[in-house]
């Protein structure tokens, strides 16, 4: 196995390897490429939106196309870019950080990725098949139930399939953290990134079913003649809003918590200090997750829930500022008096603190019910959530990619290009979104495809669009950096003088990660060993055979079946002949499940002799 891996292989062999892989490190690559691709698509959509708003009364995009653009921008960025990029980082790092050889369910890991990928492709097929969804990323009924054409059908089926993949991924990480930790890796010795990913996975487990239910109801309303959201037949449109936000609010914590973990690891590594207030950080993360489930109605203050309900949700929302504040202060205290190295990773992390804090502050502002009646559906809200999602999640993903790129690909990203990316993106980001607070306060509403020349919104929107171009430039530089890095500096095993277990493996790690499972003797296990003058981890077991899972093509085929069935679901409303496609696709997926269940696949062993032959 491992000897073959060092030889040059043809393109076909590499492709087949990736299509069938169950190795968490290769699935991380897949998530990165998949999520990166959709990030670029979502970015192009964002650019088209900003070009449309560059001047008053612009006619670059038609009104209908603009609606499709904002819907797809939001949906793509949340479900198809941010989530998979986070999963890419989790897959690449989490098993290494707890000293595991793979995730708990490698087959499911692969299935989760392919479901996400085919769901994303299905959603984007809508562009070429009569128009994309146009009911906003929130898909509020009755707009979504009455939207003509098949756009929203693609939204429902695409998100349903991709959402199943996310749920599978979340459960997989939960079980991995519970069951796969190396000897000595107690819960309170886990790196913060692992902790945060674990808690985010709990949120995925509890929040995604609400979306699944909502999407099923919407699917039946649109495709099979039910009336859950049809008021004229006794339905209730508000149910959709509740279901969507019961999922949607925990979702934003799913998007930010793992990156909080990234920043915690980055700060302690580059400040050369133990993370300040480790226990407080863990419990603050739990508290955010806990509170995250009781605040969903703050998206619905103007629906008319009444003053009591609004007050309760308002107070619960403001309470989240407390654990978040604990985290901000702990990061600052970690930096305080540290031996700080500033590189691209650190720049993203340092810039995150003020950027995210601005987003948090406007968050408390929009949580104030009386004031929210003014902010609601204005550009102030657009500015708020871009400050938290870009200033938190995207900054975090960039920090994580610069930090762990050596572990993922065995190369170090170019520092000069990295700094160019950072500064252009940072300036572009604040240029784009800071002014939008004021555009919102001046009365510019969300989701309108034009503003008029008499509205005094011209300058602000022009500045915003210029900023967007800077961000686009930064992303292009990053892509170039990533490509160039393939020929760049070869990374040592531990380029940053790291503290956690992933830096005890080679860059990139062997496909079994650890030849011998390491013994963890404290928080920041590698640092504990370094402090005692040892170069590597103490093994917890003698060298022996390693049991590894076999590759499988079934996850790809299973997801393909659902993808085909998705088209059947969408088009059977036009012509019942499409039911054949629906049933065919489902039957194919079922057959794959049967094969998986009936066929014994016990994996393979890497023998002790083979391990001894390999010089490390």
């Amino acid at each position: 196995m491992s000897i073959a891996a060092t030889q040059k292989r043809g393109f076909g062999a590499v492709l087949w390897d990736y299509l069938t892989t169950v190795d968490h490190k290769k699935i991380a690559h897949l998530y990165l490429f998949g999520g990166g691709l959709f990030f670029l698509i979502g970015g192009i959509e964002a650019m088209l939106i900003r070009i449309q708003l560059i001047k008053p009364d612009n006619d670059f995009l038609s009104a209908g196309l603009y609606n499709e653009m904002i819907t797809m921008h939001g949906t793509t960025m949340i479900f198809l870019a941010a989530m998979p990029l986070i999963f890419a980082i989790m897959n690449a790092v989490l098993p290494l950080q707890i000293g595991a050889r793979d995730v708990a369910f490698p087959f499911l890991n692969s299935l989760g990725f392919w479901l996400f990928m085919f769901g994303g492709i299905l959603l984007n097929c809508s562009w070429f098949l009569g128009g994309a969804p146009d009911a906003g990323w929130t898909g509020y009924a009755p707009l979504s139930t009455t939207s003509p054409g098949h756009g929203v059908d693609f939204y429902v089926m695409g998100l349903q399939i991709a959402g199943a993949g996310t749920l599978i991924g979340g459960i997989n990480f939960l079980v991995t953290v519970v069951n796969m930790r190396a000897p000595g890796m107690t819960y309170m010795r886990m790196p913060l990134f692992t902790w945060a990913s674990f808690i985010a996975s709990v949120l995925i487990l509890f929040a995604f079913p609400a979306l699944t239910v909502g999407l099923f109801l919407l699917m039946f309303d649109r495709m099979f003649g039910t009336a859950f959201f049809d008021v004229s037949l006794g339905g209730n449109t508000i149910i959709w809003e509740h279901l969507f936000w019961i999922f949607g609010h925990p979702e934003v914590y799913i998007l930010i918590l793992p990156l909080f973990g990234v920043f915690s690891d980055v700060f302690s590594t580059f400040a050369k200090k133990r993370l300040f207030g480790y226990t407080a950080m863990v419990f603050a993360t739990m508290l955010i997750a806990f509170l995250g489930f009781m605040v969903w109605a703050h998206h619905m203050f103007t629906v008319g829930l009444g003053p009591v309900a609004n007050s309760i949700f308002s107070i619960a929302t403001m309470a989240i500022a407390v654990p978040t504040g604990i985290k901000i202060f702990n990061w600052l205290a970690t930096l305080w008096g540290g031996n700080i190295t500033i590189n691209s990773t650190m720049l993203w992390s340092l810039a995150f603190i003020p950027s995210f804090t601005i987003g948090g502050m406007t968050g408390v502002m929009v949580a104030t019910v009386a004031a929210d009646y003014q902010y609601h559906d204005s550009y102030f809200v657009v500015a708020h959530f871009h400050y938290v999602i870009v200033g938190g999640t995207i900054f975090g993903i960039f920090a994580a990619l610069h930090y762990w790129w050596p572990k993922m690909f065995g190369r170090i990203l170019n520092e000069k290009l990295g700094k160019l990316t950072f500064w252009t993106f940072f300036i572009g980001f604040h240029l784009t979104f800071f002014i939008q607070h004021f555009l919102g306060l001046m009365g510019m509403p969300r989701r309108y495809w034009v503003f008029h020349s008499g509205d005094h919104l011209d300058t602000g929107n022009l500045i915003s669009t210029i900023g967007a171009f800077l961000m686009a430039f930064a992303v292009i530089v990053f892509v170039i950096n990533a490509i160039v890095s393939a020929r760049g500096e070869k990374a040592p095993a531990d380029p940053w003088d790291g503290r956690t277990l992933e830096w005890a493996t080679a860059s990139p790690p062997a496909h079994y990660n650890f030849k011998q499972t390491p013994l963890v003797r404290g928080l920041d296990p590698l640092w504990v060993e370094k402090a005692e003058g040892k170069a590597e981890m103490t093994p917890a077991e003698p060298l022996g055979d390693i049991h590894m899972p076999n590759n499988s093509f079934l996850p790809f085929l299973f997801s393909l079946g659902l993808f085909v069935a998705g088209f059947g679901f969408i088009y059977q409303t036009d012509n019942k002949a499409w039911l054949a496609v629906l049933i065919g696709g489902m039957a194919f997926s079922l057959a794959m499940m049967v094969i998986r269940s009936m066929k014994d696949d016990l994996g393979h062993h890497i023998t002790k002799e083979e391990l001894e032959r390999e010089a490390d």
Partner: protein
């Protein structure tokens, strides 16, 4: 492990298994009784204000049996499963409570 302690452990394990089986059968019988009770409550046409709390109590007890006896949550090493299940119950109850308060308050 030497042989004679092995056989001792064996008989200990046998006794344990026997107890376990007894408990399972008792809880199984109780669950059937509870289910019949629930039907009886509905058939007799009791006042709703009494019937609904009784039904809910019976349901909660049955769920408890299910978790602790059939899904082995009373055994050691199921702490994380318990945390997750109660977390899920909490999230679901919170949602229901929220929607109820919003609708009827």
């Amino acid at each position: 492990m030497t042989e004679n302690t092995g056989s001792k452990l064996d008989s200990f394990q046998k006794k344990k298994n026997k107890e376990e089986m007894q408990q399972q059968l008792i809880s199984f019988a109780l669950m059937i009784v509870f289910t019949i009770l629930a039907f009886v409550v509905v058939i007799t046409g009791m006042d709703k204000m009494i019937a609904i709390p009784i039904l809910i109590t019976l349901a909660v007890v049955q769920v408890g049996f299910q978790f602790y006896y059939f899904m082995h949550m009373k055994h050691e090493g199921h702490e994380m499963a318990a945390v997750m299940i109660y977390g899920g119950v909490w999230a679901a109850l919170l949602t229901l409570a929220g929607l109820t308060v919003i609708t009827w308050w």
